[in-house]
Structure formats: structure tokens, C-alpha cells
Symmetry: C2
Subunit: 218 residues, 2 copies
DNA sequence: GCCCAACCTATACTTCGGTATAGGTCTGCA
DNA sequence: TGCAGACCTATACCGAAGTATAGGTTGGGC
């Protein structure tokens, strides 16, 4: 249901239909899951090891990862942490026959969408995929907004960024001028240029835009 | 009942020292955990069933719940959902000898801080309690800010709330006046009164205050 | 040397937001 | 009946913000 009940048209606003990325060393499992996903119109690609995922270029479209835990080489949990380190936030659904509670809790704490055990009911699996894809669509939408804001921020001169900082913290032009040791009219100039570059129609609009930016980029 | 250890100054900023609320039908487990917590200076209180927790008045101070899953009557997971329904957001650590992966995943999805299995290492348990208490301190601090903002909001007249809505959405006085079908000077009056009642020194300050309010109260 | 971008300043003007003062109507309630 | 609170309006004024125009100084690159 939801994001999964249509093959292509329903995703027109999210730049591409969703894809499930299956990682399992068991060929039969992969084939079986691919078939299940295909039957409900979800595209999928398969890898037989975590290393292949790291070597591959992840597609720029809504996606989710389906990871086995126990695999030759790096485990699914290892991959989860590696991806986090690399800033890749594609939602992950674990699916394993050799799990325990500690593993599942660790995975969930690290942000996994679900942790399923084999054998899994078809509907349970599809529901998890559906939730993961929905999360990725929302995450990608937010990331797009954030990226656009950062691109605008990059066009600001150092002085304009300084003024922006004062403005969003609520300072008046007079106070900004005093703190920077320049005249108020100059602050107005920087402020005006900054507002134009940031495409902000009002202070309120500037603030909402500003908050979509990751704090460590400011 | 746990030993009352009130002097601990480390929690001075959070309105009360933390308390762990243990719910387990096994007396030995409860006594053992209470002793462990006491040894590191954390107060605790015990219940032998979920119903007792629901009947009791939860203390107004930083706390965390430690729940067994399998108990006579309502299970720990049932209690978790009941508390969520009642809007009680005290962090929960599960501790059980009869868990499985599905249970742990369900608990984590519902917001549990951790899901531990018996027998548990002392340090593992204490780390979980520490994380849960820290989460509750942060949650309570945010709730306090939110409550104060809502109290201020309650003092606004209907018209002032309307104007507030326009102001935070970035409208100019002229636009607000047009939309409400009143004169601009009247908008200024409502706006001025609203800013005073909300203790907002500037538009920026008003917006940050505003965002601490739950959206369903606006 | 020239250009350009970033930075700074100034005058003059407009618009916007906010305050003070002084009124008015309407509704509900003691 | 009178009072209080919410709501509305007006005049006049102030300060903050924004725009337009017209300059100036630096520092780096061709």
C-alpha cells in the first residue's frame, strides 16, 4: 500500500521510482526476494557481499537497503556503520536467519528501519520495504531543500555571512554595525545583498530557510 | 523502596535527582537491581506489576522505567503502549529473560532506549540507565520551555492569536489588515499587545519561542 | 597599469513597525 | 445599570529597515 501500490506514476514528485538494494550471500534468498518485489512492481538490484555495495555507485533515487547480518567479509552491521561514517543515510532493513536480540537492538539504535528474521512473511517484508522507501523519499526531499540553501549560502561574501549570523540571532542593524565596527548604512547594504542572494522575501522566510541548513555548515 | 539519596549535586540544574522505576515480578531481580543502583547513588522504586505503575503517581522529576516483558497481567510492551497513549514519555529500558528479536524490535520502534537480556552485566545496565536518564532530563527541559510558551499563548485574545499566525508566517501589517478586513493601525495594536504578552523582544525571538510549541496547539 | 570584486561611506527618500494618546462599539456579567 | 474586556479607529510621531544613487579604498589577477 502507500508508496508501493503503483509502478511508476505515483513517484512523479520524488525524482525516480524506488529501488530496493538486496545484499545477501545466498543466491536463492536474493532471487526469491527479487521475485517478490517484482510482483508488486518494485525494482531491485542484488549484491552478494557488502564490499560490492561499497564499490558500486548507489543510484540517485529513492531506495532502501536490505542487509543480511552474517555474510563473508564485512557483516551487515559493519556496512551500516561504514555508510553512516560516509554520510550515506539510505534506510536499512535487516533480514537475517542468524540474529540475536543484542544485534537487533544495536541495529535499531543505529537507525535501522526494521530488523526481520528468516523466514519472513511476504507482507511483513513488503511493509518494511514500504516504510523504508517512504522514509527515504522524505529524507531526500529534506536533503534537496538543504542542498539548495547551502548553494545560496556559498554565494555570500564573508561579510554577508557575518551579517547573516547577526540577523538570524535577532540583532538590529545598529547593533550589528557597532559589533563589526562599521556604519549602519553599510550593514543595510550587506543585509540587502544577503537577502537577495538567499532569495528571502522576509525575515521570517530567511529564518525558515536558514533552519533547513545543517548547523555545522553555518 | 530505594534508599533516598537526595544530596547528589550533579543534577542540581534539572529540578530533582533522577529515579529509576523498576517493574519486575521477580523480587530477587528487583532487590539486586536496587542494590546496584544504590551503589552508584541512583535512587530507585520498585513495582511488582504493570498495574501498580498505572495506579501510582509518577514522580515529577527525571526518571526512567525498567520493564520486564513477561509479567502477570499486562506485559511490559503493553505498558509501553499504554503510557504512550496517555502521553507519558518517560524513557524505557527493557530488561527481560524471555525476549526475542521481534519483541526487541517492536520495543525499539516504539521508542525504547534499550532492550537488555538477563543476565545483564552491571555496567551495561548502568550505561542504559544513564542514557535513559539523560534523555529524560533533556526531554523535561524541552517540555518546560514548551509549557511556558503555551501558558503565554493562553493569555492571548482570539484576535491576537490570529495576528500571531499571520506574523509568524511572514505577512506584513498591511497584508494582515487586508486579510482581516481591519485597519493597519489596529493590526499594530494587536501585534504590539501580542508581542508583550509573549515576552518577545524581536521577531526572531518570537519565532524561536513559537517553534518550541507543539504544532497541534497553535 | 587596468580591471574587478569586496568592502566601506554618504545623502536623500520611502516604507514599515511601534508607541502614545484619545476616543468609539459591543458583549457579558455582577 | 454600570463595569470590564475585547475589539476597533484615528492622529501624530519616532525609530528601524530598505532603496537609489554616487561615490571611495583596498587587494589580487591579467
Amino acid at each position: 500500500m502507500g508508496v508501493l501500490d503503483s509502478a511508476s506514476g505515483a513517484y512523479s514528485g520524488s525524482l525516480g521510482s524506488p529501488i530496493a538494494i538486496l545484499v545477501d550471500d545466498d543466491t536463492e534468498v536474493r532471487d526469491s526476494l527479487e521475485e517478490l518485489l517484482t510482483s508488486v512492481g518494485i525494482e531491485s538490484i542484488s549484491f552478494s557481499s557488502t564490499q560490492e555495495v561499497l564499490d558500486a555507485e548507489l543510484p540517485d533515487r529513492p531506495a532502501c537497503l536490505v542487509l543480511d547480518v552474517r555474510m563473508p567479509g564485512l557483516s551487515g552491521l559493519d556496512l551500516q556503520h561504514l555508510l553512516l561514517t560516509k554520510g550515506i543515510q539510505t534506510p536499512i532493513v535487516f533480514l537475517t536467519g542468524h540474529g540475536d536480540i543484542a544485534m537487533s537492538v544495536q541495529a535499531m539504535k543505529a537507525g535501522a528501519v526494521d530488523f526481520l528474521t528468516k523466514p519472513v512473511r511476504d507482507q511483513t517484508f513488503l511493509d518494511a520495504i514500504s516504510a523504508a522507501v517512504a522514509a527515504d523519499i522524505a529524507r531526500r526531499a529534506a536533503a534537496t531543500v538543504s542542498r539548495k540553501t547551502m548553494a545560496l549560502y556559498q554565494t555570500l561574501t564573508p561579510r554577508e555571512r557575518e551579517v547573516l549570523g547577526f540577523v538570524v540571532s535577532g540583532a538590529m542593524n545598529k547593533q550589528i554595525a557597532f559589533d563589526l565596527g562599521i556604519s549602519e548604512i553599510t550593514v543595510k547594504l550587506h543585509r540587502s545583498n544577503m537577502m537577495k542572494k538567499m532569495n528571502a522575501r522576509s525575515l521570517t522566510h530567511l529564518l525558515s530557510t536558514w533552519q533547513s541548513m545543517p548547523a555545522d555548515m553555518r
